[in-house]
Symmetry: C2
């Protein structure tokens, strides 16, 4: 283990001089600098970040909290975060919370003790008061995807509008009996998507049929059974899934029932994950810029962190709403 001290001895200077050279600070004679650099080279010294962090009170590490990396939305978001973090010299710690608020809390506690510089939270629940406390305690926090109106920076999409666009498209292409697969109601993003669906129906003069509304019971896969049950009673013109993973399960259920997509039933989703274009039929969906969401969240968080280092008050939170786009593929077709 080569330390600063050894380099100093080797170069015949003091540790503070070496420190200055390493940090690229001024007020070092050119010749001295050269000698130190030489020593660094020859001893192949590299600084101990831990000691540096202890001294400086920051670790250049951020945490990314998500429900689960197995949800296909998150690998892309994660790449956005990680690529950006790396670009700025930060490392990221990945935390899967499984929607379990206790796991989330435990992570927060542990990471605070580690002096994590900031948090990107994609797993926020209405009850996640520990996240709010984090922010209130002055920790840099950026929310993604899930946002409940708190005074915290966030990167989201307009969920109501994405759903409204999807359902309007179905209506305009002649669908009338439109079912919906809604995710957990406690997540406002699903609540908003449900409302987008309801409003689209209303605005186009279509009635709301409660029996066409499927509510998630226990995970995404529950839509397999729910769809089967729905089909026992009636065949809708279309099913709007409030996320692509749900759409994929819905499609599986429809096919296992011997029905064709889009001939018998159209299916539309929201997300545009990688698989959406690859499944059969390729899924019509409203894309959200997942990579960009991650990248922007990371960028904002890092800005917050650097700002904090200059010890000003935290700036007023800003919520970025990114654009979504309807991607028409083969899982929907004109009716009548």
């Amino acid at each position: 283990m080569t330390t600063l001290k050894k380099v100093a001895e080797y170069a015949g200077v003091s540790t503070s001089t070496v420190s200055r050279v390493i940090a690229g600070k001024p007020y070092v004679k050119e010749e001295t600098r050269r000698r130190v650099l030489q020593a660094v080279q020859e001893l192949s010294y590299s600084p101990n970040i831990l000691a540096k962090s202890l001294k400086e009170g920051r670790t250049n590490t951020i945490a990314l909290m998500i429900p689960s990396i197995q949800n296909q939305m998150f690998p892309i978001v994660t790449r956005g975060v990680e690529d950006t973090a790396r670009k700025y010299g930060y490392t990221v710690i990945l935390c899967n919370t499984d929607e379990n608020i206790e796991v989330e809390k435990e992570y927060i506690r542990k990471l605070q003790d580690r002096w994590i510089d900031g948090f990107i939270v994609g797993s926020m629940l209405p009850a996640s008061d520990h996240i709010r406390k984090l922010k209130a305690d002055g920790f840099p926090v950026v929310l993604t995807s899930r946002y409940y109106g708190d005074p915290i920076d966030a990167v989201i999409i307009d969920n109501h509008r994405a759903a409204y666009d999807a359902v309007s498209y179905l209506i305009k292409t002649g669908h009338e009996k439109i079912a919906i697969a809604v995710g957990r109601r406690q997540l406002s993003l699903y609540q908003q998507r449900l409302e987008g669906y309801l409003d689209a129906l209303k605005d186009h003069g279509l009635p709301v049929d409660e029996s066409l509304i499927m509510h998630e019971t226990h995970g995404t896969n529950s839509f397999y059974g729910l769809t089967q049950k729905l089909l026992d009673n009636l065949i809708p013109d279309a099913i709007f899934a409030t996320s692509d993973p749900k759409a994929i399960v819905v499609i599986r259920a429809i096919k296992d029932r011997g029905l064709r997509i889009p001939e018998d039933i159209s299916v539309i989703g929201i997300d545009d994950i990688e698989m959406s274009a690859l499944i059969e039929p390729p899924l019509t969906t409203v894309s959200q810029p997942l990579y960009k969401i991650g990248a922007l969240a990371a960028k904002k968080l890092i800005a917050l962190i650097e700002h904090k280092n200059k010890s000003k008050d935290p700036p007023a939170p800003v919520v970025d709403v990114l654009e979504t786009e309807l991607i028409i593929r083969k899982s929907t077709a004109r009716r009548k």
Copy 2:
């Protein structure tokens, strides 16, 4: 910020006593212990892990290096790693290398400076000498998936056998013209899977037809074009994809050609990722225990780390070969 010292003053004892109590060490009078715990409570003290790490020379952090979390194999492996790490009190840093050896090197350097306790490497390339050096320098390292016979702990599957099983199954169910989609040759796991294919053919008296062998050119998606080109010349009985993501692309290409699966062409893969059961038709594949691979790798790595703390010599590396299993679904059908 509450520190040990403040707790000590508050409780009217020395810092070492507080340290002892926190660490649960013996030789502390029951009443003193209670008083300290009380102080810890009231000041809501929690230790600074950074300082502790600096002192102890270990960080309870491990790095997981993978090609990309966007490759659908890795979210599952990652969950295995992370769940296990958390259970043992470790945090994991996620590193996507994009198969870029420079990125890998940069990560290693950065993480060494951070005093990462150990590495799980799922991105090993034949040229990854920096990983070998890591191990040689005494760092705990565990390899997953990719293994080139180095004296390093590893968790892998028998690739030759997995491929052999897949192809043998095709042959036994009447397929003769069997094409193969082979991943990058420089990765021995694909080389081995190719050999498994070749040997299965040989053992069953089938000829090898070079024109049936598709080699990956630039990423998984290149198999879309390769498959199309293959189908221009001939329609094989089956296509063996050396991984499920490749199988999914191959299926897309076949369908876009207007051919049916399995009626016209059977398709078989290796992996059994979550999507494999959901696509149309559900994919016949040889499953590998991805979660278990991650979990076992983490467990082994942690054992290595704890062993190292007792400062014995590192134990001889052991390579664990986990079982694979043929999962028959709907993408293959009996011929003739």
